[in-house]
C-alpha cells in the first residue's frame, strides 16, 4: 500500500523557496576572492566618507621641511620625538603623533592623507561614469532593440561608426577642450558658465565624467539591444502587447527588470577601466585640478624621483592596483555567480 502524506506532513517536507538572486548571492559568497574584493570596496567607500577622521593631515597641508620623507621615518617614539611631534589638535580624532606612515611627497604633503582623499576622486569617477554610461547605453539599446527594423538598423549604424573611433585620443581631446573652456570661462555664454561653475565646484571632475560616460556607452548599448532581442519574442512580452500595454510600459516595466542583471555586471566590470582612465588623464595633467589629489597625478609627480624616492610612485600605484583588482575580482565573482551554468562546480 502506498504511504500517503497528510497535508501537514507534506508542508513540512517542502523546503522554502529561494529566488534566483538568493541563489546567486549564495554562489557569490562561496567565491572567497570575490568576497574579499567586495569587502575592500566597501572599506574604500567608508574611507572616502570618513577621510578627515583617519588621516593625520589634510590633503593639501604642506610641511616643506619634511619633504620626501621615507615611510615610517621617525616612527620610533622617544620622549624627545613625542614632545616635538605629538599634539592634540582639538578635535576628537585628530590627535597623536604626526608622522608620515607612508612618507611625504616633494612638497611635504603626507602621502597617506593624499591617498585616502584620492579615493574620493576615484570612487566618484567609478560611480558617476558608470551611471552615465549605463543610463545612456541602456536607453539607447532597448529603444533600438525594441523598435527593430530600419530604426534599429540606423541606430546600430551610428554605434558602428562610433566604435571605429580611437577612444583614447578622442577622450584626451575632449578632456583638453573642457579643461581649456573651464579655464577661460569668460568667453563662454551663460549656460556654459553655469556648467563651468559646477565643474569648478567639483574640482574639475564633472566634465571628465561626462566625457568618459559619453564614449563608453557603446558596449552597454549593444549588450542591451542583444538582451532585448532575446526577450522580445517571449510570451510575456507578447501577452503584454496583446493586453494593449503601451510601448513605454512594456519597455520599462517588463523588459528592463529582466535585462538589467547582465548589464549591471558588465558595467561593474568596466569600472576599473574608468578608474584607470581618470588616473591616466591626471597623469598627463588633464584630470582633476591640483591640489585635489588623484592617484594618477600623484604618480606623475612622483615619477621624476623614481630612482631616489620610489615610494612616491609606489604608494598611489599600489592603491590604484588594489582598487582595480578588487573591482575586477568582484565583477568576475558577480558574473560567475549569476551564470547558471556554473552552479555546483
Amino acid at each position: 500500500m502506498v504511504a500517503e502524506l497528510t497535508v501537514d506532513e507534506a508542508q513540512e517536507n517542502t523546503r522554502e523557496s529561494r529566488s534566483p538572486s538568493q541563489d546567486a548571492i549564495r554562489e557569490f559568497r562561496r567565491n572567497k576572492v570575490a568576497v574579499a574584493g567586495a569587502i575592500f570596496i566597501v572599506a574604500l567607500v567608508v574611507a572616502a566618507f570618513i577621510a578627515p577622521l583617519i588621516t593625520p593631515y589634510s590633503h593639501e597641508t604642506q610641511n616643506v621641511s619634511n619633504n620626501r620623507a621615507r615611510p615610517m621615518e621617525g616612527y620610533v617614539i622617544t620622549t624627545d620625538f613625542a614632545a616635538q611631534n605629538c599634539h592634540w589638535y582639538g578635535t576628537p580624532l585628530e590627535w597623536g603623533c604626526t608622522i608620515s606612515f607612508v612618507g611625504s611627497d616633494t612638497l611635504g604633503r603626507d602621502l597617506w592623507s593624499r591617498v585616502v582623499y584620492g579615493t574620493r576622486v576615484s570612487l566618484a569617477v567609478a560611480v558617476v561614469a558608470a551611471t552615465v554610461s549605463l543610463t545612456i547605453g541602456t536607453t539607447y539599446g532597448i529603444i533600438s532593440g525594441y523598435a527593430g527594423g530600419r530604426v534599429d538598423n540606423f541606430m546600430m549604424r551610428i554605434v558602428d561608426f562610433l566604435y571605429a573611433l580611437p577612444t583614447l585620443p578622442i577622450i584626451i581631446l575632449m578632456t583638453f577642450y573642457f579643461q581649456q573652456v573651464g579655464r577661460r570661462g569668460e568667453e563662454a555664454g551663460a549656460a556654459a558658465n553655469f556648467l563651468i561653475n559646477i565643474n569648478q565646484a567639483m574640482g574639475g571632475l564633472f566634465f571628465i565624467f561626462i566625457v568618459i560616460g559619453a564614449l563608453f556607452w557603446l558596449g552597454m548599448a549593444r549588450l542591451a539591444r542583444g538582451q532585448v532581442l532575446t526577450y522580445k519574442q517571449q510570451e510575456f512580452v507578447q501577452a503584454a502587447e496583446a493586453m494593449g500595454a503601451s510601448d513605454n510600459r512594456i519597455l520599462f516595466r517588463h523588459l528592463l527588470p529582466n535585462i538589467i542583471g547582465p548589464l549591471l555586471i558588465a558595467e561593474s566590470l568596466a569600472i576599473p577601466g574608468y578608474i584607470f582612465l581618470e588616473a591616466f588623464l591626471s597623469f598627463i595633467g588633464l584630470g582633476v585640478q591640483p591640489p585635489r589629489p588623484s592617484w594618477g597625478a600623484m604618480i606623475n609627480e612622483g615619477y621624476q624621483g623614481l630612482r631616489s624616492a620610489p615610494w612616491l610612485v609606489l604608494v598611489p600605484g599600489i592603491a590604484l592596483m588594489l582598487t582595480t583588482l578588487a573591482f575586477n575580482f568582484m565583477g568576475d565573482g558577480l558574473r560567475d555567480a549569476f551564470d547558471v551554468r556554473l552552479r555546483g562546480r
Binding site: 561608426f161 571605429a164 573611433l165 580611437p166 577612444t167 583614447l168 585620443p169 578622442i170 584626451i172 581631446l173 575632449m174 583638453f176 577642450y177 581649456q180 573652456v181 577661460r184 568667453e187 576599473p272 584607470f276 588616473a279 591616466f280 597623469f283 598627463i284 594618477g296 604618480i299 615619477y303 623614481l306 630612482r307 620610489p310 610612485v313 609606489l314 600605484g317 599600489i318 590604484l320 592596483m321 582595480t324 583588482l325 575586477n328 575580482f329 568576475d332
Partner: protein, 323 residues
C-alpha cells in the same frame, strides 16, 4: 570574399571622413590658438595676424577644413606650426614606425605568451600549473599599465639594472621605412615597454584560450578522435586547437584597440618618441594639423585591424560567410 573586403574599404572612407571632420572641429573649438597674444607666449598682435594668415587660421572653419581635405588627398597632412623645417608628414614618418614596432611586438608577445599558457593551463586543468597560470592571468589583466610600468622599472631597471629606464633603441631612418635595425641595443630598450604593453593582452588571451580549449575538449568530435586512437598531440593540434582559437580571434579587434590605446600610455611613461607622445605634447601647442593627422592614422589603424580580424575569423570558421 573579395567583394566583402572592397565593400568594407569603401564604407571605411566616409567613416574616416566623418572622423576627421569631428576631430578637426573639436580641436579648433578649443579656446586659444597656437599664436596666442595673451598668456606666456606674448607675440605682438600684428605678427600673430600674419602667422595665422600664413596657416590659414583666419578663414572660416569649413574653408579651413576644405583646404585641409584638398591637401590630404594629395598626401600632404599639413604644416607644423612650431617648426618651419618639418611638417606633419615628417613627424609621422619618424614616429609612426616606432609606435608600429611597439604595438606589433606587444600584440605578438601577448599571443606568443598567452596562447601556449592557455593551452598548458587547459591541459593540466586544476593542477598547480593551472592555478598559477590563472592567478597570473587575472593579476596582469587587472594591473593598470600606469602601475605596472613603474614597478617593472623599479625592479628590472633600477634595482637589477638589466634594462634601460627610458627611450626606444632605434632611431629613424628605418629599414624600408618601418623596420628597425635588429641590434641588441634595440631589444634591450624594447624589452620593458613591450612587456608592459603586452602583459595585459597576454593575460586576457590566456584566459580565453583556456576557456575555449576546455569547451572544445569536451565536445563529441574530440571523443571520436581519441576513440579512433589518435595520439593526444594529434588530437589537440589538428582538431581542437583551431576551434579553440576562435574566441581569441574574436577578441583580437579589441586587442589591437587596446594596444593602440595602451601605446599612448606606455610611450608617455617610457619617453618613447612615438605618435602617442607627440600627440600629448602637441596639445598645448595647438598643433591642429598634427593632432588631426594622428587621430586619422589611429582611426585608420583600428579600421584596418578590425577588417583583418574579420577576414581571419572567416578563414578559421568555415561556417562564417560574409555575403
Amino acid at each position: 570574399m573579395v567583394n566583402y573586403i572592397i565593400r568594407r574599404i569603401l564604407i571605411a572612407i566616409p567613416v574616416l571622413l566623418l572622423m576627421v571632420m569631428a576631430t578637426f572641429a573639436l580641436i579648433s573649438a578649443v579656446p586659444g590658438g597656437p599664436f596666442d597674444t595673451s598668456g606666456q607666449k606674448k607675440m605682438p598682435d600684428h605678427i600673430a595676424a600674419i602667422m595665422e594668415r600664413q596657416y590659414g587660421l583666419d578663414k572660416p572653419l569649413w574653408e579651413q577644413f576644405a583646404r585641409y581635405l584638398g591637401r590630404l588627398v594629395q598626401g600632404d597632412m599639413g604644416p607644423l606650426m612650431q617648426s618651419r623645417v618639418q611638417d606633419v608628414n615628417d613627424v609621422v614618418s619618424q614616429t609612426f614606425p616606432v609606435s608600429l614596432q611597439l604595438g606589433v611586438m606587444a600584440v605578438f608577445l601577448g599571443l606568443a605568451v598567452g596562447i601556449p599558457a592557455g593551452i598548458i593551463a587547459a591541459l593540466r586543468r586544476n593542477t598547480i600549473i593551472d592555478y598559477t597560470a590563472t592567478f597570473f592571468a587575472v593579476l596582469f589583466a587587472s594591473i593598470p599599465n600606469l602601475v605596472l610600468a613603474p614597478m617593472l622599472i623599479l625592479i628590472f631597471a633600477v634595482a637589477l639594472d638589466w634594462f634601460p629606464i627610458a627611450f626606444w633603441g632605434a632611431d629613424p631612418p628605418f629599414i624600408l621605412g618601418i623596420f628597425p635595425k635588429p641590434t641588441s641595443e634595440f631589444f634591450h630598450h624594447a624589452a620593458l615597454p613591450v612587456v608592459v604593453l603586452g602583459m595585459g593582452s597576454a593575460a586576457v588571451v590566456t584566459r580565453l584560450t583556456r576557456a575555449g580549449l576546455l569547451d572544445v575538449l569536451s565536445a563529441d568530435y574530440i571523443r571520436t578522435a581519441r576513440a579512433k586512437g589518435l595520439r593526444e598531440r594529434a588530437v589537440i593540434v589538428v582538431h581542437a586547437l583551431k576551434n579553440s582559437l576562435i574566441p581569441v580571434v574574436t577578441i583580437m579587434g579589441p586587442l589591437f584597440a587596446a594596444a593602440v590605446t595602451g601605446s599612448l600610455i606606455v610611450e608617455q611613461i617610457f619617453a618613447i618618441n612615438g605618435m602617442g607622445r607627440r600627440f600629448i605634447s602637441s596639445l598645448g601647442e595647438r598643433e591642429y594639423f598634427l593632432l588631426t593627422g594622428l587621430t586619422l592614422i589611429y582611426g585608420a589603424i583600428l579600421i584596418g585591424a578590425n577588417l583583418v580580424v574579420d577576414i581571419l575569423y572567416a578563414w578559421l570558421d568555415p561556417r562564417i560567410r560574409y555575403d
